[in-house]
Symmetry: C2
Subunit: 265 residues, 2 copies
């Protein structure tokens, strides 16, 4: 999963495990699809397959919400859609502000998935005066000076940060000071927030790096090297460009200057 949770002290909200909460949107999506096809009921097995999880896990997840299934039959699709929506708070209207209307911010503003589930983009905000008034996703971009006023007037409690990394903490501080208590951060920075404020992080570059790690492992599985069962699933490895030089400095301590091409964020 592509999330990066930033410190949640095992909130264990009303007994619903965090891991379960993270899967509820997944179930909801699968159920919504079934609902559109007018499927009346679904078994845990079928729904689990659609959501890409284990059926036992799904049943346990639902058990935290209550006993909404019927043994021998399955779950009522419409009813479950409603229950999960309510549990996630999607029966409310959530006004959000989006700060930083660059390439990414504009793409997010145009993203249908936001508006479609009870989330309403209350305002697009950018610090660049040249952006002010420009129309993005059918909405006029407003200047960052008005951030506090916008949040207050619209009762916004969720903010999306899509600014450059350098501006993110500052924007975050202003959002929090203005009353925002949940932040979705796309900027590649670790945000500091006071207790009671939730931050979720989406970092594109980190996801790629994690993939690269596994990719490297798949490609260059060492010959003997305590390989568990199956050694390197495959041995294509024709794609290795750089030989990943110098394993021999494994015990060197001092920096020797041959730092590889790793760059700032």
């Amino acid at each position: 999963m592509a999330t990066g949770r930033t410190h949640r002290p095992a909130t264990r909200s009303r007994g619903i495990p965090e891991a379960t909460v993270a899967r509820l949107p997944l179930y909801l999506r699968a159920l919504t699809a079934l609902s559109e096809r007018s499927v009346p009921t679904v078994s845990s097995e079928e729904l689990a397959a659609a959501a890409g999880v284990n059926s036992a896990k799904l049943r346990k997840d639902f058990s935290y919400l209550g006993s909404y299934g019927t043994r021998g039959v399955g779950y009522d699709v419409e009813y479950l859609v409603y229950q999960i929506s309510r549990e996630l708070g999607l029966t409310q209207d959530w006004p959000i502000v989006m700060v930083g209307i660059g390439n990414l911010g504009a793409a997010l503003a145009n993203y249908g998935g936001f508006a479609s589930r009870g989330f309403r983009v209350a305002a697009l905000i950018d610090a660049d005066p040249a952006m002010t008034g420009k129309s993005v996703a059918g909405m006029a971009v407003q200047h960052a000076d008005d951030l506090e006023k916008i949040i207050d007037e619209n009762g916004v409690s969720i903010g999306v940060i899509a600014t450059p990394a350098g501006a993110a903490q500052q924007v975050c501080d202003r959002l929090v000071a203005a009353g925002v208590t949940s932040i979705l951060n796309f900027a590649p920075t670790v945000l500091s927030v006071p207790d009671g404020v939730d931050v979720r992080k989406v970092d594109l570059s980190i996801e790629l790096q994690i993939l690269a790690f596994h990719e490297q492992r798949k490609a260059g599985e060492s010959p003997v090297d305590e390989a568990e069962g199956a050694v390197g699933v495959e041995g294509p490895a024709a794609k290795v460009t750089k030989p990943a030089a110098a394993k021999n400095n494994a015990d060197r301590k001092g920096p020797d200057g041959d730092v590889p091409a790793v760059m700032p964020a």
Copy 2:
């Protein structure tokens, strides 16, 4: 098999826990920042603070890589940058293809974080003939027909999917068939892939829904504390738009059609 897994079961590649791998990019970013400021060494405490994690966790994470610290002093910044980069496979060049150059795809193509860490966008691909040849992020968009050829010629093993949900699985299948073994999926769908292929998912709407859940809890904390009554906790909630009708169907089973406004992805 072939369920769209997002999590690695127990890959435990070479003894490095998945959770640790997911944090390495975080450490790397913090270290890179220190490196730019020419900071020679850093203690686990300082670095942990910069990365937003616990110092004990950081030390344990590093211990999986080896003993790269010096007791009483800390870690050599440059050396650690190199070690982590190597471990993550960032000392290699990773050509990637990006499929689906809509709003989001274009934004991703422009995102600097990709190119800056050993990832090279080998091609932008879109199924829309009208897009073919258009320049995005200084690169000509190529038609999906050439997908296999592009992957083969460039030795691409990592693909990014930013298509609409409906096209994602089909694109995924073609990517995998062409030899891609790692996929970063931005489409709101569960992808099915064969064993050996890694999929990571970034779902903007899911992240927001998780935030909404916590936000709802913060806002509507019930009076009598342990309101285990299973009845919806609906406290203050000045923002409630929809009355969340019919609480009385708590034991009703059949669908009654009053589905709330939850929409397709």
